[in-house]
């Protein structure tokens, strides 16, 4: 086992793609310890690719691409402006609210940061917000993209944990909403403290009608996708396909920003992004198999039992590990690495897989805004022209919201499990 862990770490530090680091360290393990089983490796890798649930992955990716390419962002920002633009620090509040709604559409924090950031970071700078604060706020609020359902990382977790996608979507809804509300409170506090401007919003009946008519199609999207899965009408894949059709229609005929000639490029990007994650899932099959052969999950459970950890203390310990891993490893591989190690042990302590999913995704979202691998940090740094460290400094006050929610959902399981149990039984 030491050989597996050491070789995995060395290969990852060398910059070998994570999928192949898992594969190569697994191969090394079998060559040294279990040469008789080596011929089973292709079947294990193949089994990781053979999944009907994961077809929803490229469909969720293309759904976000289509909506975004269709011209959603500016409409969404106008729509949010009606509600919170007049408050002090209105543009900051709009960024957070737009990210919350965008999270219900794209399922990806990085596309959230890129889309909202392109518009809001320059707008906030022009209104006198410090550039690092503007970029940091967008980076931090974009973390909601993967917490608020539909969430692409949640689909990956659902696959690894063999849990209901609908229950997991509902399980993270309260957490995502709390992050948004806390971020708005922090924005409002900082706006009053630093005297950021209010926006002069045109609230004439004509303007309200225009913004509402353009914003409502975007709001319907999460209702279709999450609503159909949660109600049990459709599977995750079917709801993602329905959402994609809806995004296609809205982008082409309502927002009119999407052209037929754009589709091949968008579909290509989506399927290659999906393959990028799927190949990690495939090689993770070897890794999970070794964990089972070496009884690692039992060992982790035994360790928790020997230390007499309660479920809350165990989750808090795992929180720290999740945050530490999130500093260096991207979200999808981190889910694939951590879930098989910790979920079985936590289940033995009575932690619900829905709660752990919510905790895992919320914890890993922080890693998107922390150096050195924070993807949202990189995106906002590129847009704003500020260094990654500057953007991180700007984001730090808002990350308090993420950490507070992580703590709350770790301590109070009902925040994750109540909604799924009420709506899905």
């Amino acid at each position: 086992m030491t050989l597996l862990i050491l070789s995995l770490l060395i290969l990852m530090v060398m910059g070998l793609p994570i999928a192949y680091s898992m594969g190569a360290s697994g191969l090394l393990y079998f060559l040294v310890h279990q040469p008789a089983l080596i011929s089973v490796l292709p079947a294990r890798v193949f089994a990781g690719m053979d999944s009907s649930v994961m077809i929803s992955l490229p469909l969720f990716i293309i759904m976000g691409h289509l909506m975004n390419h269709g011209g959603l962002t500016s409409r969404l920002i106008d729509f949010c402006m009606m509600f919170v633009g007049r408050l002090r620090g209105g543009l900051g509040m709009v960024s957070v609210m737009a990210s919350m709604i965008f999270g219900g559409i794209s399922g990806s924090s990085v596309s959230d940061a890129a889309s909202i950031g392109q518009v809001m970071i320059p707008a906030m700078r022009n209104k006198g917000y410090p550039p690092q604060m503007a970029a940091g706020l967008v980076a931090a609020s974009s973390t909601m993209g993967m917490i608020i359902p539909p969430s692409i990382p949640m689909v990956i977790y659902a696959f690894v944990a063999s849990e209901s996608v609908g229950k997991l979507f509902l399980g993270s809804l309260i957490a995502g909403t709390m992050v948004g509300v806390f971020m708005m409170m922090i924005t409002l506090f900082l706006a009053h403290k630093n005297n950021y401007p209010c926006e002069d919003v045109d609230l004439s009946l004509k303007e309200i009608k225009r913004c509402s008519l353009e914003g409502i199609p975007a709001l319907i999207m999460p209702l279709i996708v999450v609503g159909s899965v949660v109600s049990g009408i459709t599977t995750a894949t079917e709801s993602a396909a329905a959402g994609t059709v809806y995004a296609l229609l809205v982008g082409m005929f309502v927002y009119k920003g999407l052209k037929l000639r754009d589709l091949p490029g968008l579909f290509k990007d989506a399927i290659l992004s999906s393959a990028n994650v799927m190949i990690i899932i495939a090689f993770c099959g070897i890794f999970t198999w070794i964990l089972a052969l070496e009884h690692i999950t039992e060992a982790v459970g035994l360790l928790f039992a020997q230390m007499q950890f309660s479920s809350v203390v165990a989750l808090l310990v795992v929180d720290v590990i999740i945050l530490a891993i999130g500093f260096f490893v991207d979200v999808s591989p981190a889910i694939l690495l951590l879930t098989p190690i910790f979920l079985p042990a936590l289940k033995l302590l009575g932690v619900s897989p829905i709660q752990f999913g919510s905790v895992l995704i919320t914890g890993l979202a922080v890693g998107l805004v922390t150096p050195p691998v924070g993807m949202c940090l990189n995106v906002c740094s590129a847009i704003s022209g500020k260094s990654i460290i500057d953007v991180f400094r700007g984001a730090a006050p808002f990350l308090v919201a993420n950490l507070l929610v992580l703590l709350l959902i770790s301590v109070f399981p009902a925040l994750s499990t109540w909604l799924p149990s009420v709506l899905m039984g």
Partner: protein
Amino acid sequence: MTQSAHSSGTAKNLVWRLETLVTRLLEGLLTATFMAIFVLVVVLVVLRYVFNTTIVGGNEVTVMLFIFTTALGAAVDVARGKHIIVDTFVNLLSAGARRWLDVVNLAIIGTLNAFLLNYSIDWISAVGGSENPVVHIPEGAVQVAMPIGCALTILFCATRIVSLLADKSAAAEQGQP
């Protein structure tokens, strides 16, 4: 320009052309396959909820196509250098050291895929003949995505290594690290 630099430039050019050609073909194939998956899923949804019927084997076919998109897409991502990596530490290296490390990494990926290619052929020979009970095609017709993906990954590792080494020769000619 010296003769060695010229020949390494020509080799790189040839390899680059081959890589671009195969990559574009695969990207086109992947895009078409994904569009087919999308259309098939939508048709199945409409048939199920509107007409209360289905296409027998439709779900199985979408999964089969999806397996091919993963196997081929992962190979294309090697060519494009788009795989997810932890680059925190390698970013600290000089350009020359980074290039050598890239060559080593590609060699590891190629070796791993060579192992998988070899064992997957044995595996398909052993179990690939069994028929899928729904669509009535041999399982091997789908399992073959594994060796095809591995073979393409090996090809792209080789083309990337040649390109990196040719870059190194050109850089050495110009006195760069």
